[in-house]
Symmetry: C2
Subunit: 123 residues, 2 copies
């Protein structure tokens, strides 16, 4: 299935600007195909890769690491160990980050409870 850049933008919740930026920044697995008029034509493979990128970004991976991961995938089979190492290191960071946020959220919730209580007393 062929998709225009705006189709992909809609499906991925990225802007067309960001999609071009990702391509320029070597985050895609290769240059996107073009139609006769020079417009980008994405296929399902492109889209699923971009969705993967949004998962990495959405978990806080820096662009530079995403580029590194794209390089590994572009290099082809045989470096699965390196890909695994990259993703697993990321996974550990995300889990640590989730734990930290959850802990800090607890402190915020304590404050919320305190204000709620105070408001109930004064009501």
């Amino acid at each position: 299935m062929p998709y225009s850049i705006s189709d992909v933008a809609e499906r991925t919740n990225l802007t067309t600007h960001t999609l071009r930026y990702y391509e320029r920044d070597d985050l895609l697995l290769g240059p996107v195909a073009r139609d006769a008029g020079g417009r980008r034509v994405y296929d399902d493979h492109d889209v699923s890769w971009i969705v993967m990128l949004t998962c990495l970004r959405g978990t806080g991976m820096p662009i530079r690491d995403m580029r590194r991961y794209a390089e590994l995938v572009r290099a082809g089979e045989g470096n699965e160990d390196a890909r695994l190492a990259l993703l697993d290191a990321h996974r550990r960071r995300v889990i640590a980050q989730l734990a930290e946020v959850t802990e800090h959220l607890g402190a915020v919730e304590d404050k919320i409870a305190l204000y709620t209580e105070r408001l109930q007393i004064s009501a």
Copy 2:
């Protein structure tokens, strides 16, 4: 208990630069006390407020909202409803964010499982 700026930096994992920046940016409840030589002297009240700030920042609250919250607290009692609204809105965003990150993490873990499997087969 009095603390120097570097004491506070150590306790809060902020840099002295960041502590001055927060004060300049009106994130504290007032100007920090000074000794005879003009050096900042923080007390426990200051420190616990700064710790609260790190919880807000650590859950992704923008500086501008932290300033707004500080303004409310500075304004004194009587606006607990507004403080509660601010923190609760933040809480909702954090929870949504945690859910999103967790979901994206799932996709990353699927990829990890895939590479792990592939490596076991080839080993």
